[in-house]
Symmetry: C3
């Protein structure tokens, strides 16, 4: 069950904006604040990236401008979210300590000053500097009632900064190995270094798993990824602790990028936070997901984003702490960083904002107040254009404010789901390290299950391997080569139907094949053994039979030996592809979407979960008694009281006809 919302100081849903007063003449600030309030915004994020203005030279601080900016905003009753500026160490600091800079894993080249995120998570020098600036800021502003909370750093790991090949990283990795394995023989055994004479004689001769003649040991790579994730946590935890030491009645959050792009254990990263925030840019993200491999979908959703892709990250956000979250940066128009950057279709900014709320967001903050007139993001839309005129998003936000006013009478607990999708960053690590087949990526596998569920109109919780699963009807572990005892205990505590996808249980934590082969720890649950794995070219599919219907198997296909269990689907030649033992199923192959919808629908119906296959472009989501329906399509869609609209629905906003890129909201008990 999802916990209560965390409004972050507000008593109800609110909107906010990201603001960089230091980019604009001080005489503009008063009008900025007045207009923010007039638009209906309630909070303003400031201070991000401002280190060179806060501390222009070492130990020479300038807080005057920030004090005045806070005062100006507070005068309009706007709450301030203050950022730590650690994503942008200033030039004087880099010149003083160039060893702060990270190294590019592929080339080993230093990644230099001149943009952002030019620091190494393993640099103790930098960690101390980051803690110092956080402490200075928290000491000054940690007890200031105008500040409701803090954002740490910015988009941790963005620009592929999770991994580094620096001297600092190399030394830290040796220490980490020593700490994890204790003695070098154990490390050699754990990694299987006897293979190819890769054995080390001492921890101080261990290298980073980069730059070898051909691929390095996957166990070595896995250890590096674990190490890198822990370095990021250590850095971030230190910053959070520095804040916590001084703040009172203020919360701490961080604005995440898509979780897979952090390369990090995001559940752990979220641990010290009061709640999670997400930076939501549906169009560019959709282009990255679909642009190359699925150009037809990319064209279809060019101005809306894929109907499930944003929601997938929203549900991940909710799941990270099992509570309400914020959108810290919401796309308000064309951006500047995708291969092509179209305009959102009219209505989409409002739709995305309400969709975030429907999935559990408590506050949505737009990025950015005013389009920058200089530097890297000039082509990124804001709510105001550089000349202060209102951008296209302005009126859509006014619409949202009106909707929020309607909703303020409603109780909006967090969404409740009967289906859990269990994830773990290790799944991504395994598929990155040992892909085995072109196109096989853990996050795409998980997303395919997610979108099949959403087409069936069910809510989905995306949870960690250590989550309580007792209240779900269906638990799906789409991709998890390393299955933990914790997960299996939670499965035992639950009576949910359990569906495991291909490769689940196929690896030990040290990236070996389990003694009993795949699915390893899952074997007693299923009485199945994986004999071998084949991967298919992305342009090949093969027939696959389930319930007398033919679907398609693709990309990843395991050959199984089945003992005492039921075969529920077959490859050609009647070879088992889906096995069921009691409430537990194992799917041995990746498939087309149609099969997933059919299978999941059958499993949900069996558990008497109400499903309803929605059109391709329509989705709904419910908080308490309030349901939101969204139409991503270019044509209107009429909800149907016999299927996707409850008989007792009372419309709060809109009606049964969903306009193109429109939404309706109703109450039903």
């Amino acid at each position: 069950m999802t916990e209560q919302s965390f409004m972050g100081g507000f008593s109800q849903l609110a909107l906010g904006v990201c603001y960089y007063p230091e980019h604009w003449p001080e005489e503009d600030w008063v009008e900025d604040a007045a207009q923010m309030r007039a638009l209906g915004l309630r909070c303003v994020r400031i201070g991000e990236f401002a280190w060179s203005r806060l501390e222009p030279q070492r130990d020479q601080f300038d807080f005057g401008w920030l004090d005045r900016a806070i005062a100006t905003l507070a005068a309009e009753d706007l709450k301030v979210v203050l950022c730590t500026p650690t994503a942008t160490p200033p030039k004087w600091l880099i010149d003083e300590c160039p060893e702060i800079l990270p190294g590019d894993p592929a080339s080993g080249h230093v990644r230099g000053f001149g943009s952002r995120r030019h620091y190494d998570f393993s640099s103790t020098v930098y960690r101390e500097e980051a803690v110092r600036i956080c402490s200075v800021l928290a000491q000054r502003y940690g007890n200031d009632a105008r500040i409701i909370g803090w954002q740490t750093d910015n988009e941790l790991c963005c620009h592929d900064t999770a991994h580094s090949r620096s001297t600092a990283a190399g030394q830290a990795f040796q220490l980490w190995c020593e700490s994890r394995y204790g003695n070098i023989d154990d490390l050699n055994t754990a990694w299987g270094n006897v293979f190819w004479s890769m054995e080390y004689l001492s921890f101080d001769s261990i290298e980073l798993p980069f730059g070898a003649v051909t691929e390095t040991n996957p166990a070595h790579q896995m250890a590096y990824r674990r190490f890198a994730s822990e370095q990021i946590l250590r850095f971030h935890n230190a910053c959070c602790s520095a804040l916590e030491e001084h703040i009172q009645n203020q919360w701490i959050t961080h604005n995440f990028i898509p979780m897979k792009d952090t390369q990090t254990d995001c559940f752990a990263l979220a641990a010290p936070l009061d709640f999670v925030s997400y930076d939501s840019y549906p169009l560019g993200r959709s282009e990255f997901l679909l642009g190359r491999d699925e150009p037809e979908l990319a064209r279809r959703y060019m101005r809306t984003g894929h109907p499930d892709y944003t929601a997938f990250y929203l549900d991940q956000c909710r799941g990270l702490k099992n509570r309400g979250f914020w959108i810290m940066e919401q796309q308000p128009g064309p951006v500047n960083w995708a291969p092509s950057n179209p305009r959102p279709a009219p209505g989409m900014v409002a739709l995305w904002t309400l969709e975030a709320i429907a999935h559990g967001a408590d506050v949505v903050s737009f990025f950015r107040w005013r389009q920058a007139k200089f530097a890297q993001e000039q082509m990124h839309a804001g709510l105001l254009r550089p000349d202060r005129s209102q951008s296209d998003a302005w009126h859509e936000i006014e619409d949202v404010v009106r909707v929020l006013n309607i909703l303020k009478e409603e109780s909006l607990p967090q969404p409740q789901a009967q289906v859990a999708l269990v994830t773990d960053v290790s799944a991504q690590w395994v598929s990155d390290i040992e892909q085995q087949g072109q196109g096989v990526e853990a996050h795409r596998v998980t997303f395919q299950f997610y979108r099949a569920l959403r087409r069936l109109n069910v809510a989905v919780d995306i949870v960690s391997h250590s989550a309580d699963l007792s209240h779900y009807a269906l638990v799906i572990v789409a991709s998890m080569p390393i299955v933990s005892e914790t997960l299996l205990e939670a499965c035992e505590q639950s009576d949910a139907t359990l569906l495991f996808g291909p490769r689940c249980g196929a690896k030990t934590p040290e990236f070996q094949i389990p003694p009993n082969r795949a699915p390893g720890l899952l074997e007693p649950w299923l009485n199945v053994k994986v004999n071998s794995v084949e991967t298919l070219r992305p342009d090949v599919t093969e027939p696959f039979e389930y319930q007398d219907q033919v679907f398609q198997s693709r990309l990843w296909c395991e050959d199984l030996t089945v003992a005492d269990a039921t075969v529920a689907a077959y490859y050609q030649q009647s070879r088992p592809a889906l096995v069921r033992k009691g409430r537990c199923l194992y799917l041995a192959t990746l498939t087309d979407d149609a099969f997933l919808r059919q299978l999941l629908g059958d499993l949900l119906k069996e558990r008497e979960v109400v499903i309803c296959e929605l059109p391709e472009d329509v989705r709904t989501m419910t908080r308490g008694s309030v349901t939101f329906a969204f139409n991503y399509g270019a044509t209107a869609y009429t909800l149907n009281r016999l299927s996707d609209l409850p008989l007792n629905a009372e419309f709060l906003v809109g009606d049964a006809v969903l306009a193109p890129r429109g939404f309706s909201i109703w109450r039903s008990e």
Copy 2:
């Protein structure tokens, strides 16, 4: 108006050839010279790349072979063009001063010895060495009547050598910044370095805009490109000055590559030259332009080159100094450097030669006399094969000689155009630095307008932003984000119809958004404001309405607010896409070719410029009373006295039937 031709010492059109006597036994030279003369060639370029033979070791010069080569050529009344050998510093010089070598911008790796162009434009050591060898040569040959002129270096900036990431470049850039901005605060303000804490405390901490974690500040990149362009000018000007100090009655030229590939202000680069030369390789260039994105066109024009692409560069050459120019290297057969290297269709060598003349070339010099038997260019055709037999081009050149004999009675002033296409290298820099949409490149935008005009059978001048525009009927500024006051003054001095393409006026010189937004300085001319820009996937187009016809909008689409002006074309939903105020138009989107032809045709007709839509493969060009018509197609085309052939045309060469890959020439008053 285009100035007179500069024949370079000849009283009429002439042909020449590039020759490397040092590659061949001295006993062959006499026969070479005799055959050149017999073929009808008048001048011979020599000495290019010959530094290791002119100065085998420091200060040990060997001019004997060069003296004998000059004498041998002169004995056959062949005029010599002498080259400075600065494109190939010899090994002893690199070993002595390895800091001459440039650095690769992406990797920072030294670009070493072993081919050509291995020098850094910012190296003061090398500039002095280049000046030294130029002076030595000019002192010796600067008053020699057998030498008509000089070519500096070779194909400046070829092989992506305009940009370098060397220590020399880094230091020179710091000095350049100090000189341009005076104090560091002004630089920080100009670049907007407050964004992402990119502020510098001193000029000596400024870095080159390479190797950062993500994209560097576009203003920083813009400054670097300006700097790099100026370094190239400084190097080249120094070489020209060294020559000028000693030469008498000799001219100086340089053989340009396609202007966009120089990354440099070519108008400025041409300033110290007496005239411009161009190295014309239609097939490889066309393959580079079309091969990947437009394979159908690439196949169609595989053996001819695109009918407008060579001409586009010819017209640029004419425009650089507003006078006649030379083709210093003309492709005579298959080359060696494109992904595939087909044979020119029979007739094309003659066609290209006469096309160059039609567009204003006074001399066409073929590359090369004799196909090299060794080293990098063995697969590059010459007029002779390595064994002295005649290549396919030989007889086509004989044909050209006959045509030139016919033309020698005609007056051939430079072409006169009623249409100007205004260009500036800054447009290319902006689109390279901030592309914003895949496929959007300034030179492709400009070329699209050019080819639409040429299909309408009008001559085009390609001029700089500081050109006199008073004598044109139509002035097109296809792509110019940074519009200068100079250009607007010239527009005011002219009564031409003015057409500005998308993104014009969108940036200040320091790469910021103008205070009044795009189109910045153009706003009073048009009463229009750009609200936002979107870029579309290259595989998407959207309908676009003009004069009740539907065309296609593509790639780059601006949303406009129009005040007191007429909307002449519309996107979907009647949103303005083309705006007109008086004689001035602003086109807010890239479009298909059909629309450009329609619009430009309408504008030309309005100004009573005679147009005639030519077939896809036929083009004409006029010098004085002489018109040349060319057929790039594989089938004959009959000119029509009602449209593309004047009623009073008297044929000098050929007749109204243009053979495949053929040409006709007529006189009309």
Copy 3:
């Protein structure tokens, strides 16, 4: 004529396996050995990559485990093939002498420890270390009757290790140049360094041909490739000598990768070996060959490999020493290193094994006994799964054992071919260095002739340029820019029909154009001269006429002048494309497969060689009186006594109906 088979100590065909006892608990070894014997295996390769276990620290040897492993295997009458572990220098050695590591040619970056093949062939330090460990092993085991022979290193040059840009390589190259050219002027002349002032003043200023601004001199690149090949030979010869010094009654072999991937003169590499071995992975290799450019074929043969591609390498193996060979590693299931890794179709492991035998293999050894549970190759199938269960291949190997029992009564001399395909590594070097046209690669050209011949059901010997050609009916030199006098003498000694492909004779050994132009030394044989070469886009073909039929010319097209010779095929406009003078033909262009089959069929019929066009998926091969027929297709094929089945055939295995992925074997006199 191919020499006798070399069974390597066996009196008949045998099977073996690759085994890594050090990867498994010692208590498993006895059962492993018993199962190997029970399966019918006769020999076991061990010790590969085991340096860190044989010499855990310098001079501290541990042979106990190896002794026990050998004893365990010998107890089951299994013969041991012992490997030198030089492909994996251990970490202590790299830490001691980091200069052993090779450098990446493109970037110059060190290629570090962490996988395998991390040594530079030019490192004298490493050569001494490799010789040392070989000597130590040979001293200990060189007179042990349980060991039948040795495998040197592993897959020399795999992972693109033939070329290196290290300090060691740079210094060795200078010495090599001095040794080859004697004085620097001769080198400059040989390379044509006058071109672009590339002249060197001394050998110690010569650089490796990498990292220049643009392409380096092809003669320089050619010299580097010769040097690199000789460095590999020197390294390998030294290892072989070290073994030979101590061994008695043991042979030496090496397991080759596809010959083109060695970048080395494989005939010379094979010289010190008793016989050649090959590592045969049909699926991944086929994917690499076809995956990108011919996706339809890649899909069709996804689970079988292309019917001719494995055989092409088998016939190369037989040709390297003109005698029987081994398959040292035979793919037994899905592998782990191709972009996608499908399962072999049922039957293919047996089919591949017998196909290898049909082409001359005497022993086939499967890779590997037991699938690794750790490190880089966990996804690579073995005969046993990690948990000791039998993989899919097991029963196919049992089938093979039964077949070998049937065959043991038969005499199986090496295959006899009437057609020779002459190859030389220099052809590959030329096409790599000066490709001139996208898609033109020497090995693809040669393979195209090979597969045309195989469709015509003839056996092919693949021989070196110095082979005796006297007993062939047809000799094909598909691609050989550098033709040697030796080859021409062999051609003279033979009365075979001689067919030379495009570019033959086009270069001198120092990569210059021959004085008489292409085809250089071949001119007197053909009375033809190549005027020019054009290359076509891969998406273009052009009609081409032979015997009144129209075929397609593609990729590479030479223009010819023909003196006293017959033109046998024509490009468009009746330009000569195939010339014949007596028994010698010159084909001036690459073509479609249909033409090659037609031409080769005509030439073979003329020599009364029996041909028969086989279906796309069926092939046969004959050893003595025993013929093997294979069906790569998914449908059965019935052999026909009128064409592809001799009238007197007596079936030993199977019958006239070739099952899908099946085989039959018959005896006929």
